[in-house]
Amino acid sequence: MSQVTSIGLYVIFGVVLLPLYVMLGGWFLDDPRQLRSPLIGLGYVVGFVVAIVIGIWILGFLLSFVLGY
C-alpha cells in the first residue's frame, strides 16, 4: 500500500518531467552547440519559478490582511 501512496516521486520525476529533461538535453547538446543561450534560457526558467514562488508568498501575505488574520 505504501508503494502506491508514495508513487508521486516516480510520477513527477520519472514521467511528467521527461519532456523537460529532453528539452534541456536538446538545449545544451544540439547544434549549433554553445553554452551562452541555453544558460540565458535556463536563467529565465529558474527566474520565473522563483518569481512565482515569491509572488504566491506576497499574494498570501496580502490576503491575510483582507481576511484579518
Binding site: G8, P19, W27, F48
Partner: protein, 431 residues
C-alpha cells in the same frame, strides 16, 4: 496567408482608438464587480457561495470554480500546442495566429490558478501548498498539479520571451518609449548571433510543450479526480483521453474566437479565411472525438455498470444543463462540418458562434463532471450514511468565476499594448 506589413502588426501598439477605450472601460467596470464579489467571499468565507460540506452536510466542496479551473487548463494546452505545432511540424498556415495562441496559453494558465485560489477557504495560506510540497509530492495529486501547472506556465512564458527576442531587437526603435524597460528584460544578454541557436532552442521547447500536453490535460488534471475512489464517475481508464479531447476542442474553439476578434477589431485581413477554415476542420474533428468519448461514458454507464456509476449517469442525463451542453457541442460541430463540406456556407461570424457553443458546452460538461461525482456519494459503505447532496452556485460565485473570463479579456487587451501579436521575422522588418 498574405504576409502582414510591419506597420499593420505594430498598429495596436502605437495607436489607441476610442473603441479600445470603451472596451477597457467595460472590462474595468466588471473587474470592479468581480473584486467586490471576491472581497465579500474573503470577508464572510465560502458560506457566500453555493459550496458546502461533503458527506453528512449534503453539500459539495468543489463546484463552479474547480470546473472553470479544469476548463482554463484545457484552453491553455491547445493555445500553445498550436504554436508548438507550427514550429515542429511546419504548419505554416497557422503562422499568423501562433503568437495569439501563445499569449492565450499564458493568460489561461493564470486564470486556471486564480480559480484554485477562489476555491480555497483560507487563501492566505496559499504559500503552505509550496512549503509542504516536499512531503505532499509523495502522495497528493493536488501537489502534482501545482508542480506541473507551474512548470507549464514557466515553459510557456519562456517560449513567449525567447520567440520575441530577435524581433523586439529589430523593432525596438519603433516601439513605445515607456515600454523599453520591459523590452530590456526580454532582451537580457541578447546578441544577434544567437538567433540560430535560439530558434533551435524554441524547437526543443516546443517538443517539451507538446509532450506535456497529454501528461497534464490528459494526465495530472484528470488524476485529480480519477485517483479519488469515493466519487463515482470520476474514475475510468478513458477519463484522461476524454478530458484531453475536451481540452483540445475547447482550446481550438477559444483560439478561433480570439483570432476572429483580432481580425475584426484591427481589420487584419492577412489572417485569411483559409486559416479559419483550417481551425474549423481541426475543431470539427475534435468535437466529433468529444462526442465519441461521451458515448463511451454514457452507454456503459447506463447498461450494466456498478450501481453508483449508473446513478451518476442517470443524474447527468436528467440534468437539463447536460443536454444544453451536448446539443450546443453538436450544433456547433454540425455547422463546422457543413462549412467544410460546402464552403459556401462557411463564414467567420457563424463559426465563432459554433466555437462559443462548443467551448461553452464543454465548460458546462466539466462543471457537471465535478459536481455530479460529489453529489452522489454512493460508494459503499457511504451509500446508506450520506445523503445525495445538492448544489446551486450563488451570485457571488458566478460573478467571481465569470470574472476570470473578463480578466482574461482585460489581460489580452493589455497584452496588445505590450508586444506585437503577430510574429514578425526579424529579417523581414520593413521600413
Amino acid at each position: 496567408m498574405t504576409e502582414p506589413s510591419t506597420e499593420e502588426v505594430l498598429a495596436p501598439l502605437r495607436n489607441t482608438t476610442w473603441k479600445f477605450g470603451v472596451l477597457m472601460s467595460v472590462l474595468v467596470v466588471y473587474t470592479g464587480l468581480f473584486l467586490y464579489a471576491w472581497y465579500l467571499q474573503l470577508q464572510h468565507g465560502l458560506v457566500v457561495t453555493g459550496l458546502g460540506d461533503w458527506g453528512p452536510g449534503g453539500g459539495i466542496p468543489w463546484g463552479l470554480y474547480i470546473g472553470t479551473f479544469v476548463w482554463w487548463v484545457g484552453i491553455a494546452h491547445g493555445g500553445i500546442a498550436i504554436s508548438a505545432a507550427v514550429r515542429v511540424f511546419k504548419v505554416e498556415r497557422f503562422d499568423a495566429i501562433a503568437r495569439i495562441a501563445e499569449v492565450l496559453t499564458v493568460i489561461a494558465l493564470m486564470m486556471a490558478a486564480a480559480n484554485i485560489v477562489f476555491d480555497l477557504g483560507r487563501p492566505d495560506r496559499l504559500f503552505n501548498t509550496l512549503e509542504m510540497l516536499p512531503s505532499t509530492l509523495y502522495h497528493s495529486p493536488l501537489a502534482w498539479d501545482i508542480t506541473v501547472i507551474t512548470l507549464y506556465l514557466v515553459l510557456s512564458v519562456t517560449y513567449l520571451i525567447l520567440s520575441l527576442r530577435s524581433e523586439l531587437h529589430a523593432l525596438r526603435d519603433r516601439l513605445p518609449g515607456y515600454l523599453q524597460p520591459l523590452y530590456s528584460f526580454v532582451l537580457l544578454g541578447y546578441r544577434p548571433a544567437e538567433d540560430e541557436k535560439v530558434d533551435r532552442m524554441l524547437w526543443w521547447l516546443a517538443i517539451a510543450i507538446l509532450g506535456l500536453v497529454p501528461l497534464l490535460s490528459g494526465g495530472v488534471v484528470p488524476w485529480l479526480f480519477g485517483l479519488v475512489g469515493a466519487q463515482p464517475g470520476w474514475f475510468g481508464a478513458a477519463a484522461g483521453p476524454t478530458m484531453l479531447m475536451e481540452s483540445l476542442a475547447s482550446a481550438v474553439a477559444m483560439v478561433f474566437i480570439v483570432t476572429a476578434v483580432f481580425r475584426y477589431v484591427y481589420d487584419w485581413t492577412f489572417i485569411d479565411e483559409d486559416v479559419f477554415m483550417g481551425l474549423a476542420k481541426v475543431l470539427g474533428f475534435l468535437s466529433l472525438a468529444v462526442m465519441w468519448f461521451l458515448l463511451q461514458e454514457v452507454l456503459p454507464g447506463l447498461y450494466a455498470a456498478p450501481t453508483q456509476s449508473q446513478e451518476v449517469t442517470h443524474a447527468l442525463l436528467d440534468a437539463p444543463l447536460y443536454w444544453v451542453a451536448v446539443i450546443g457541442i453538436n450544433v456547433g460541430m454540425l455547422y463546422l462540418f457543413l462549412g467544410i463540406i460546402r464552403p459556401r456556407f462557411f463564414n467567420i461570424p457563424a463559426a465563432v458562434v459554433a466555437s462559443v457553443l462548443i467551448t461553452g458546452g464543454i465548460w458546462t460538461k466539466k462543471v457537471l463532471f465535478v459536481v455530479d461525482g460529489l453529489l452522489h456519494p454512493t460508494f459503499p459503505p457511504l451509500t446508506n450514511l450520506y445523503p445525495s447532496g445538492w448544489y446551486v452556485p450563488s451570485l457571488v460565485e458566478v460573478t467571481i468565476a465569470g470574472g476570470s473570463l473578463v480578466i482574461a479579456a482585460l489581460l489580452f487587451a493589455i497584452a496588445t499594448k505590450l508586444i506585437p501579436m503577430v510574429e514578425i521575422d526579424a529579417q523581414e522588418v520593413d521600413e
